[in-house]
Symmetry: C2
Subunit: 277 residues, 2 copies
């Protein structure tokens, strides 16, 4: 069973059966949000470098980041050498590709005062420069659905508790063996107090299946609220949290659990979605 005629490790084109499955998964996860009257916004898959810099992306994840540059066109001929453009072919990179979806939510609410606790959902194509790619399990670009809460600390924790339960129930219904693991890779500045804080309070939990993180729940305290100057009605910076789903990874582990029978995986997801709606 092929996912694609173009099954290079870093890049995959999903065939119709895989496409149906990933769409059903996104319909399910976003459906949980929409059923709670959570609204959807649409972020772009590229940002000004200056915007991503606000989140310490180039401080904390320089190795994972990809930036986008235009080409010099004042030459007779602009062509790649051995499948790549060298630095001298490129203009400066003013745009960066996001490594996560939720940045769009903080930039959407940048410089605003929230009238009330707020949750939004959004999906994006994310990009990561990895040492090694593994098809659907680890792609250079993948699809991440997120649900992001902005409000009081208690409100943001409530979202994570609710969705943790839903994720675990859904995994059980589709017969996926899911383990909740406190993640150790620091989201915030590596050597800062926040990194120490994260280790102590385990602010990121991953849901792993097949030794792969397919979802996570994340507490950011008021880090993003401060960086984007998003304030609560009481004047404080907003606390935020997010729930994230790596959709291609769900496809990979479900396909594997059904021995490559994607039609069976689709039925299992559809039925589980109805039972957890």
């Amino acid at each position: 069973m092929q996912t694609s005629r173009k099954s290079k490790e870093a890049i995959v084109i999903l065939d119709p059966a895989h496409t149906e499955l990933i769409k059903e998964l996104d319909r399910t996860f976003s459906g949980w949000a929409l059923a709670e009257n959570i609204q959807e916004i649409t972020p772009p898959p590229i940002y000004e470098v200056a915007d991503l810099q606000k989140f310490d992306v180039y401080e904390n994840f320089p190795h994972l980041s990809l930036v986008a540059a235009a080409l010099y066109t004042d030459r007779v001929r602009t062509q790649p050498t051995n499948g790549a453009f060298i630095a001298e072919d490129m203009l400066e990179a003013r745009f960066g590709l996001p490594i996560a979806t939720c940045y769009g939510a903080y930039l959407f609410y940048e410089n605003s005062v929230l009238k009330q606790d707020t949750t939004v959902t959004l999906v994006n194509r994310c990009f990561r420069n990895e040492d090694k790619y593994e098809g659907l399990r680890r792609l250079v670009s993948f699809t991440m659905r997120e649900i992001v809460a902005l409000g009081s600390f208690e409100y943001t924790q409530n979202l994570l508790a609710r969705f943790t339960e839903r994720i675990q129930k859904f995994a059980c219904e589709v017969s996926l063996d899911l383990t909740k693991v406190a993640a150790s890779d620091p989201f915030f500045a590596r050597h800062g107090t926040r990194a120490v804080m994260q280790k102590l309070s385990s602010v990121k939990h991953e849901f792993q299946a097949d030794e792969l993180a397919i979802a996570s729940v994340n507490t950011h305290r008021n880090y993003f609220g401060e960086r984007c100057r998003i304030r609560l009605a009481n004047g404080e910076f907003a606390f935020t949290s997010c729930v994230a789903f790596g959709l291609e990874r769900w496809v990979a582990v479900l396909a594997n659990a059904h021995q490559g029978d994607l039609a069976a995986a689709l039925v299992a997801v559809h039925n589980a979605a109805q039972r957890t709606a």
Copy 2:
């Protein structure tokens, strides 16, 4: 009425009302395809440079192209200067960002023999380096839904005729004043015989509203079939054609036509979709 709190010209985050409208438009256009039992595939928003090079992208559109590079991380500190990374900060660019959606279809069928005439639909985030950005009318990244036919020349022309009629009927139903214009910008090599041929036979037609191309129908003859070695049962290279919809541009002209009343635009699209289903 704001499309976003982050309404820079090159990049926009769609708010819930704009998101509902763009989703309804995509549901409508892809629905026309799905109703004909056309299957959907899912392309990535990034490719190997070597794959895009097959389509003469860097020969014909070097000025529009953006390439993706990782950063040097062996330095003490990797930080942008004045919101940009300079060439010396970047490793070679092995990946390129697509300027159109349909490349994914040709790469999906690369090196294959089609048992029968085939049509697929796919949507992607596309990227263009423009001199000037204008919000939803001209973004650095936008969403392009396409329907792509691969088969005999007659089969590919049949798709364009059918969808030309649908686009015109739908535009009429949503009260958009649409003009069909033979496009002069050459898709193929600028100085090659194909460019001359295109001018003579007008192989690209745009549908313009508000002085903006919001959809197009395109004939490629066997250019992509040859480049990706996609063969018909008779051994010939496949002919291809595509229908393309620039979704954010549809949102822009519909919002304008309804004086910014997005709820009214949504109802108009929904009703028109039902009448043209």
